[in-house]
Symmetry: C2
Subunit: 500 residues, 2 copies
């Protein structure tokens, strides 16, 4: 345990802590490519578990996966951009298609291979996907068209953070076409619900759901909905968005259909996405000073078994028991790893697996074997659960699946409690608001007149933004009547926070 330098504490420097745990839990690594990261097997294992759960939820709601080109003609991007202010233009641009030997003997782009029209590495796929939809949709009978794509995208970000903001990232992007505005709106709300359910039940990271303000919405959308979670440093993390796109793209890409009454109409679109950013959210929601903390539903390894022995005499019996326990647990669909490395001490192993956030550890020594018991240790304290407990071996292996479920729920409850403890409602005084935002941080619920000026003023003064206009369930009662900033009539309630 003494071999390695201890992690920075969260209370000292949350940002340094974050980078350290991501690297030392081997979730990801920096790469030689500016702004791009490598997702290491352990981090990718978490993403795979996320993908599996989300993919099942998408299919259960009628969506199918497909795959569209990575490289998009510049003119497609321009078509969207012409009509869209605030369009981000930082993207990777392919201009040549061949390397040739240069004068110095190295390689260089061959000028003869210059493309007439540059290609853009997709930053998102609305343009190419709706261009294809236009080819496939003729009649109302072809609708709704419910497509999802798992893909990589590139945005030339200047300031990058592992998982949270990288030039290239992995995501899913749903794209749908509907015959009516009502159906499209329902779809955008349905997928918002799917994201929330996934974050609640799988990530144990309870988000708020709501609408983005005009200035914060996706430029091509009529309305953008978002799921927003609160990290341990009391900054918000936008964790997913769903967009009701109206007919903006269908008009650009001529996505028309013949309606039931025989009239030609433009289709109504939605798009929605979550990305590998979620892995960063998971780390910042549950991690502690010993490392990351994984909810069992997403943990690549749910249970690690550490055999403790001295010499070959003890070794055989302890290892036999360890593998017996592992096999019983595997038969119960538990993801188990037996850490039988001869080169590490039990203490070093505990330290490793705590850093990697494995939910539950089983320790087995010769005395445990003799007493037919196992030592069962949770990764963290959890309300209502004993952290460390010696249990009869039969009871232990039979109850571990249930205990993992209880631990999952306890992590959710703890995150929910933390979020609510750091949510401030009924704030009406701008000075008090600034004190919270510039002090401890958190979500501040307050009235908003709907004016862009007030929104901008808060941002300029405090760096806080309107994270969302919460849906009914999250709204305060009584509702605020006055705008936090200008004191004018409140059009509604907004949740403000500094955010990633």
């Amino acid at each position: 345990m003494a071999e390695e330098q201890a992690l920075t504490k969260r209370s000292q420097d949350f940002s340094a802590w974050y980078n350290e745990v991501v690297l030392r839990a081997e979730l990801a690594d920096y790469s030689p490519v500016r702004g791009s990261m490598v997702i290491r097997p352990y981090g990718y294992g978490i993403w795979e578990n996320m993908q599996r759960a989300l993919d099942e939820m998408f299919k259960a709601t009628g969506h199918q996966n497909a795959y569209f080109p990575l490289l998009i003609p510049q003119s497609f991007i321009a078509r969207e951009a012409e009509h869209v202010e605030g369009f981000a233009k930082e993207m990777a641009i392919v201009t040549h298609t061949r390397l040739k030997a240069g004068p110095g003997g190295g390689l260089e782009p061959d000028p003869d291979s210059k493309l007439e029209e540059p290609l853009i590495v997709r930053p998102t796929s609305e343009t190419i996907i709706y261009a294809m939809f236009a080819k496939w949709v003729q009649s109302y009978r072809d609708l709704p068209l419910l497509i999802n794509q798992w893909a990589n995208v590139v945005r030339w970000e200047m300031r990058t953070r592992l998982f949270l903001r990288t030039a290239e990232f992995l995501w899913q992007e749903g794209h749908t076409a509907h015959a009516s505005e009502v159906e499209a709106e329902e779809e955008a709300r349905r997928m918002l619900g799917v994201y929330r359910q996934f974050m609640d039940q799988w990530m144990a990271m309870p988000p708020l759901t709501g609408l983005k303000s005009e200035s914060e919405k996706f430029p091509g959308a009529v309305r953008t909905y978002a799921v927003e979670a609160l990290m341990q440093d009391n900054r918000g993390l936008q964790s997913g968005t769903t967009h009701m796109l109206g007919q903006n793209f269908s008009r650009q890409f001529d996505l028309k259909f013949q309606s039931e009454s025989g009239v030609e109409e433009y289709a109504w679109n939605t798009s929605w996405g979550v990305s590998t950013r979620l892995v960063g959210g998971l780390v910042m929601t549950h991690g502690d000073d010993a490392g990351i903390v994984l909810p069992p539903n997403l943990a690549p390894i749910q249970v690690v078994i550490v055999p403790i022995y001295r010499g070959d005499d003890e070794r055989a019996g302890v290892l036999e028991k360890a593998h017996w326990a592992a096999n019983v647990l595997r038969a119960e669909q538990v993801r188990v790893h037996v850490d039988d490395r001869p080169t590490a001490t039990p203490g070093a192993k505990y330290y490793d697996w705590e850093r990697k956030g494995v939910p539950l550890r089983v320790e087995i020594g010769p005395r445990d074997v003799a007493k037919q018991q196992l030592m069962v240790v949770l990764r963290t304290e959890a309300a209502g659960l004993s952290r460390k407990e010696a249990m009869g071996e039969a009871v232990a292996v039979m109850t571990i699946p249930k205990r993992l479920g209880e631990y999952q729920r306890a992590l959710f409850q703890a995150a929910l409690r933390r979020r609510e403890q750091n949510s401030h409602r009924g704030v009406t005084d701008y000075g008090a608001f600034r004190e919270i935002i510039e002090g401890a941080g958190g979500f501040v619920y307050a009235g908003w007149c709907g004016g862009r000026d007030c929104e901008e003023k808060v941002k300029a003064d405090t760096k806080a933004t309107i994270r969302l206009l919460p849906l009914q369930e999250f709204r305060s009662s009584p509702a605020p009547t006055r705008c936090l900033v200008c004191g004018g009539q409140a059009q509604g309630e907004a949740v403000w926070a500094r955010a990633y």
Copy 2:
């Protein structure tokens, strides 16, 4: 059925037939992006089933998934290229990172955003992956490192064919590092075996396995192994390769480890991959003049149920029975679809699903309901199985899973028989060889002196290439003694064919 134009027959124009079935079965579509295709949901569903099966086999052999950057610095590619002749230089090159408004009002790459060093859209990931391995591997204890990546890659192909050769394609690339040459060699052979097993058992597309000749191997490899299948037009399809890379990349990227005896050594690498090309292989192995034919193990829909009725009276009873059958089959893990479209006739539905290659169709009409029977129809004739059979409904639903398994094996046997019927052994006369290759085609087994000249001559004369030097199991007995081309002493046996 008369609404749509019939497909081109295979015997008329195999290549036209291929394009038509791929488009009309809705596996893929052309995109507005030169050389890139769109994989439509039905085609992607096949790829997802392939991925799931392969991923499980990779994990069962100890591999873990990870993700590495899409964009690779030009200098990395150059480092490989310097040492590699025959290196393909056709690739997508990123030179700028921002669009700006041009003089005409459109967008153009901003000259100020020009990269100092261009980035290459990965054509394959050896360079970036082994650069990362070098960072992670210190000691023999860190080996073997067994990594796989599911990813998109881009190669600027000039002549593209849906699935078979596209500028962008999806694939998996395995990359491993080992402490010894023997282990690396074993790994390359193990994964060759995994590919073969997958093609035999899942694709029902029995390949030959063997070694590539020097001129056909991957430029960075010491040895390349391949799986090669024979398509219905008697051309070969290289369906997967595994490479024993020796220490070529580890020397380039300084991938060293401290051995058990304390000496610093270069690691031994392998890489291996299969791609969406396999979907094209599946089509060309089993398809017929009515459309594609899918082996049940990979079919997105294994059973389609077509209700037949006139008027509402018959409708309710027939649909009830259809959904009953679907539910029973789903409980048996069968992928079922009930085609209850009111707008299509039963005949049109048969035609649709035959074109899409669904292995088994169940027809249910009012008379079947009355007699408690179902009509069970296989997509194609299959040796030992009746194509169309009325069965008691209880027996039908209980035996359909077994029938699907039998049909899977029958497709494999048929493909194996076809391959062997079109394999020519013991050919020693060059004139006879040319007659086969320039006539019906197929695999020709013949002696080879090992000389590049003879290999080149055959290619120049006939466009046939050495597909592989077959592994023991596939070799002829007695072994050929003379080179087919020059008549000199044969170093071994080669399999020649024209290929995709």
